[in-house]
Symmetry: C2
Subunit: 357 residues, 2 copies
């Protein structure tokens, strides 16, 4: 199963909006076939493994990181393929909560006389597909907040002077975060200040050229027609409030959509629901202090990835997040640190917010 989970990861840049899945077929103590799901619309992990095994699949045990599908989607159901190949037993790490599956896959197999089992290495399997699972169960994508600051939490000088805070290795690492995300979200302030591209660069061999949706939260529709990202391949979703004239921006290839307002800003949660509708499993937020603080204040962040540069920038600086409502010590956000490692000259801290007291 560990091997199936590792295989699954090979789809991390390309499988979304589908979950990543790996499958290993074992017969007589030996692996007779393995596969993973590479891309939506292409063969599922089980089918790839069965093809690799050929006749050897008969009587084998299938280890699969997620319950096999039982419905006709873009590809025929995997249950059918497993039954037809004569697999003896199917061990799935976890059930697929997707309403089209949700136990039906395992039931179909059991009804066909195949022994089934679930739960093996389940927490690892859950962790692989956190975004997909959140989307199908909560109708929101996983929200990953990317922050970069000095060791004392500054992102720029008070006068606005700034430049890359982190080094080239950290920035390359962010490219990998972008590539696994279905969308990259930022605020209009960042667009006006930096005109970012928010695209995935130099990873075509791994992503097949797939680009995440670029999402700009822009309550008053200040998006410049000349914004660099509008000229790039892929979708730019500009999220405004009210009913402004959107023609000019739409002519520049922007997808402009109006959302409810909340506290004078675009209701970020409404945007997240829309992204889930569009099949986004994971959103990477690359934003300034305003949007980053807003998402933290509203408990909408699932994971933080903080790149800390080895500098003390001091007191005449701007901070990482703007959280005007956090006025008491008890308002602070406690984190569970899940990983700390050196990326080039910087330190990358991965953390999840603890539930509020």
């Amino acid at each position: 199963m560990a091997r199936a989970l590792r295989l699954a990861e090979r789809g991390r840049y390309t499988a979304h909006p589908n979950p990543v899945v790996g499958c290993v077929l074992v017969s007589g103590g030996a692996v007779v076939g393995e596969g993973f799901h590479a891309k939506t619309g292409e063969a599922h992990a089980e089918v790839n493994a069965l093809q690799a095994a050929g006749d050897a699949a008969r009587g084998s045990v299938a280890y699969v990181s997620l319950e096999p599908c039982s419905h006709h989607g873009r590809t025929p159901p995997c249950t059918e393929a497993l039954i037809k190949a004569g697999v003896r037993k199917v061990i799935a790490s976890m059930e697929d909560p997707n309403k089209d599956v949700a136990g039906q896959g395992l039931k179909t197999l059991a009804d066909a006389g195949i022994e089934v089992q679930t739960g093996l290495m389940q927490s690892a399997a859950v962790s692989l597909n956190r975004g997909f699972l959140k989307r199908v169960t909560e109708q929101r994508p996983l929200v990953r907040l990317n922050l970069a600051a000095s060791i004392d939490g500054a992102i720029a000088m008070a006068g606005g002077e700034s430049q890359w805070i982190t080094g080239p290795e950290a920035r390359a690492d962010v490219q990998r975060l972008r590539a696994r995300s279905g969308a990259i979200m930022t605020g209009i302030g960042s667009v006006l200040a930096d005109d970012p591209s928010l695209n995935v660069r130099a990873m075509d061999s791994e992503t097949g050229g797939l680009q995440p949706i670029r999402v700009v939260l822009d309550s008053r529709l200040r998006m410049p027609l000349a914004a660099g990202m509008l000229a790039l391949p892929g979708t730019t979703l500009v999220c405004c409030t009210g009913d402004p004239d959107t023609n000019a921006l739409q002519n520049m290839n922007a997808d402009v959509q109006s959302f409810p307002a909340l506290d004078g800003r675009v209701d970020a949660d409404a945007v997240l629901r829309e992204l889930a509708e569009r099949g986004v499993n994971e959103v990477l937020v690359e934003a300034g202090a305003a949007l980053a603080g807003d998402l933290l204040e509203k408990d909408l962040v699932d994971e933080l990835v903080i790149y800390q540069a080895p500098h003390i920038m001091g007191s005449q600086t701007m901070g990482l997040v703007n959280t005007p409502s956090w006025t008491a010590l008890s308002d602070r956000q406690a984190l569970t640190i899940t990983d700390v490692r050196r990326i080039g000259g910087d330190t990358r801290i991965t953390a999840t917010p603890k539930q509020s007291d």
Copy 2:
């Protein structure tokens, strides 16, 4: 030699103001004796190793982490003991720059017909005694700045609300930093706000009850007569400017001394020179943003030990260091990270300032 260096470390809480030194005697491929310098006034590492070896010292090779002394201090010269014991060869990691030794030890041994060699694992030996070496060569102690903050660099809420930022393991770790220091320095602001003890607690078995000098930078002599630290064993040095009436404080057991003023504060460099005079090898600074920032602005910090608590405290907070003169990005202090590790729930980052551009 690696063993001699490890032995040397065993004196880290007790040897100061002397350097830590370890010695291993090897004869016929086997260790025949070893020792370290435990405490000023007691036997040096070489003498302890020779005593352990007894007659087996004759014809042996001595690996010692620092050049043996050749002068009559509180104990007779180690060179004499090594010669008398019939040691064949002495390998010292580094020369002792202390003017009473400074190559004389090695020369004395060579003159007595003993083969001598230096430089083996020298950088490790230098690193062991950075404080001692800085004191004897620059007449200043090593300055280690201890900071504790949230992951976004906050130490308290803007309104002043604060509590322990870091966990009990990090605070126990700070006790070890205190125990290896000859002095602990703070600012009068911290004394007035928190009435800290700045003593070493629950480590008597390792320190023999030795307490660092407590140093309070207090330009206008606002030190309260009731400050808790004045009632504790050991010395409290209150550093003021000008010529105030110091009688009341001195009656409370404070050692009050006037220093030059610089930028309206006590000239911290003058205080450091005084501490070196008093035999302090390492100073631990546990201070608020004002003194911490002042020392960084004046390039007086040799090492930073930053404990980061797993919290985002947000924007309505007070920062780690107050550096009013750092107004441009180029003023920031670049760091070389030398160690990152988890201490309980916190992350400890050890770093040294890079030389300014």
